[in-house]
Symmetry: C2
Subunit: 525 residues, 2 copies
Amino acid sequence: MDATEFRRRGKEMVDLIADYLENIEQRTVYPDVEPGYLRSLIPEEAPEEPDTYEDVVKDIERVIMPGVTHWHSPYFYAYFPTANSFPAMLADMLSGAIGCIGFSWAASPACTELETVMMDWLGKMLKLPEDFIAGTHGQGGGVIQGTASEATLVALLAARCRAVRMILASDPQRPETGITSKLVAYSSDQAHCSVERAGMIAGVRMKKIPTEQSDKYAVQGETLRRMIQEDKAAGLIPFYFCATLGTTPSCAFDHITELGHVSGPALYVSKIWMHIDAAYAGSSFICPEFRPLLNGIEFADSFNFNAHKWLLVNFDCSTMWVKKRSDLIGAFKMDPLYLKHDHQDVHSVCSTNPNPLIPLCLILSPTLPHPTAPSTSPYRTLSPPVPHTTSQHWQIPLGRRFRSLKMWFVFRMYGLKGLQDYIRKHVELAKEFESLVRADQRFEISADVVLGLVCFRLKGSNEVNETLLKRINNGRKIHLVPCLLSGQFVLRFALCARTTESRHIREAWQLITQLAEEVMQELPH
Amino acid sequence: MDATEFRRRGKEMVDLIADYLENIEQRTVYPDVEPGYLRSLIPEEAPEEPDTYEDVVKDIERVIMPGVTHWHSPYFYAYFPTANSFPAMLADMLSGAIGCIGFSWAASPACTELETVMMDWLGKMLKLPEDFIAGTHGQGGGVIQGTASEATLVALLAARCRAVRMILASDPQRPETGITSKLVAYSSDQAHCSVERAGMIAGVRMKKIPTEQSDKYAVQGETLRRMIQEDKAAGLIPFYFCATLGTTPSCAFDHITELGHVSGPALYVSKIWMHIDAAYAGSSFICPEFRPLLNGIEFADSFNFNAHKWLLVNFDCSTMWVKKRSDLIGAFKMDPLYLKHDHQDVHSVCSTNPNPLIPLCLILSPTLPHPTAPSTSPYRTLSPPVPHTTSQHWQIPLGRRFRSLKMWFVFRMYGLKGLQDYIRKHVELAKEFESLVRADQRFEISADVVLGLVCFRLKGSNEVNETLLKRINNGRKIHLVPCLLSGQFVLRFALCARTTESRHIREAWQLITQLAEEVMQELPH
């Protein structure tokens, strides 16, 4: 396919996409296929000779669409939203065409620089403390990660490195393995499963802090304080706490001011790193009325949310800020001798990196002179972190797309007001759904409705609610997923699609009540 | 922007992209900007009210393009290629519009299933042993990772988990920290820096195996064997070896058959996991004449290359296969009680996962009943891995785009033959460049030219070569990066753009020789 054919096929694809999104309501939101459905629909091997483009396009409806869960249907209320906007799609097309791999400033200066400035724009929209803004001289700043899971892990790795270094600084004779095996991290029992998984990857203990319905599933400062004290008494070293703003099950909010007072003070051998995961809720903080939920951010070392969830910037765009870039840079830094040579030898190619938050992959570094004796410790061999050198890796992948173009297009085409309107519309629709539930005596609301998520259930057994949900999803007209809150099976109704309107909410509610009636008639109470 | 406006703007963007790529030769390949250039060109904050689309588009030329390194210019010979093809761009547009997040089968069955089948297609194109093909009953299979760095890390984490479990199985009383602190991994001193970084992230020793110019920078079996023996004698536990096929500096190849005999036998307490990183070279193995470079793959536990480098599938698409899915699944698995409940409770929502290689994020799992007492060990609390259950996480991020659409479009629109032709054309052009260099007595070739990379230098000092490279890049007509091989400063000429032709090679060579003449006249020998 050459550029001439691409002009034609690209325009057809634009129409196909517009048709798909304009008519998405008419599709079954949740696909009716069995596992393994696709394999039998296509050949077992790639073709030797090219297929025609017409055949490929035909197969979109024949092979792909029957197995698609339509996340952007206004009848999709499962999980949390993922963004889908036209400006973001246009920017992504451009990003694909430029197709640079932004692992260093030199690899495409615009890619690194636009990201730094867009993260500042967004940080200002969120009214983040000055500490988190890179500006031209700040010590903090933002970077785009792929997902919140990556951000949680990166923060944990940086915290691990900082803790080990602080302890080694005060007690240089202490064996390192004796330190890492004593480290302990904390998160809410409501935290996303990726937080626990980050602990597994980093090889450190991760303790779950129990929460209660009566506390609205928020971690209590007193509980955290007690756990820390007990662990300290048992000889462990608390070093990391992941707070959640807007949990996955019920959109609960930890009180980070209270928790900051627990984790902040230098009562402990190593200061505790507070990371804030606001994956879903973070977008709402651009509205002044929701910004108080972020109060206490000044106690955090790092903060992350997924602009690709609720801020109209298509996946992936997980926005992360840190207060001190050097904390992160240090965690991924190599042997200083090796570094020194890198800097010296590739200076002409790589130049200076204006944003140390962007990983600068010196892909040629393995060939630079270094001692053949391996460094066996990532901690002892490190010099103190130096910002603005050429080797600041601090994300898991080294390659990266030109993702900030999506932020730039979206912020400019919506404007701050347009984005705020969008958030508010979803919250209003959630409130509307909440009032429909509350008006029906057979149902109950299971958690405060703060943003765009409504947790509700039939008054009665878990069984009746499980049956109801199964009936809803098997009907395939709307799609919801459940959660368990304090042992109760709960239905989650999350506002997801950009195009959801009041009529969709009412239609969904009508369907739910109709199915509830059937279920209640069938099942014994 | 609504669908109607998107139809118009999308078509304009298609033309903009086609114009950009058709005329890319006329742009300066390597941008002439200073660090920080972009910040002053745009406002300090996002606009309150929307900008016009015309203004946004105008800014592409005003703000972005001056800072872009044009990776797809036929004058770009730096790093390694990154893919850029029209079919991949069309597929990516569709992927963006569908915009599903494929963290589970249910979240979009087509996304999970097409990926499994496309990885089988590609595995067959590479003639991978049957062990690595998922098929309908295989124990192995493939998955798309974001980058080779992620694949290296995932393999390392799986190896760490397997080693600890094997040792615990034979010696249950042994303290775990005593195991992990003794683990030792190996890679070539020519390996990509991300391998060393994976060791830092996982918190294990990573030793570099020295290589020699006389061995063509390949790791020698004898060297690896000796290091393993010495480490064992010192009480360490060798558990992971990362072989490289096509190193970043000089495209050198480890002899994996020889190394497999070293790392394979169960001579050691824990079997050594062999991971093969063929990030760049892997694409060439679809040609029968290059496939022998992969001989010995049967000894590997995991294998990875970047289809997004040289196989015309736009970034990101890093293709990874494993022989035993259960090894990977186990590495990210949670507490079995918790798992059991997940499986039970969300079965109706998530159904069975036909491909355990695709991470199934039970985003609701944290709310399911589990003991509040935290599990402190990822190893002891695990039951033996069970394939085909609903909780097989095995990549770092949980969310994922519908990336297999790009593979599907590219494989079908090029056909296997078209892809082979493309690889062969680049190799031929590299050979042509090599012969130009060899015909000039002032220059020398620094490493065997096997695929699309030519390492060369002026006979003489490092200084003269550094000066030459600086002159080349400052001229901005072509773009190259250097490497050091055995202490010698070497210029790397990598075939990168899809549209590079013989005339570009000759033009580049003419420029290089002209600048070399200048440099040699200026500098004292």
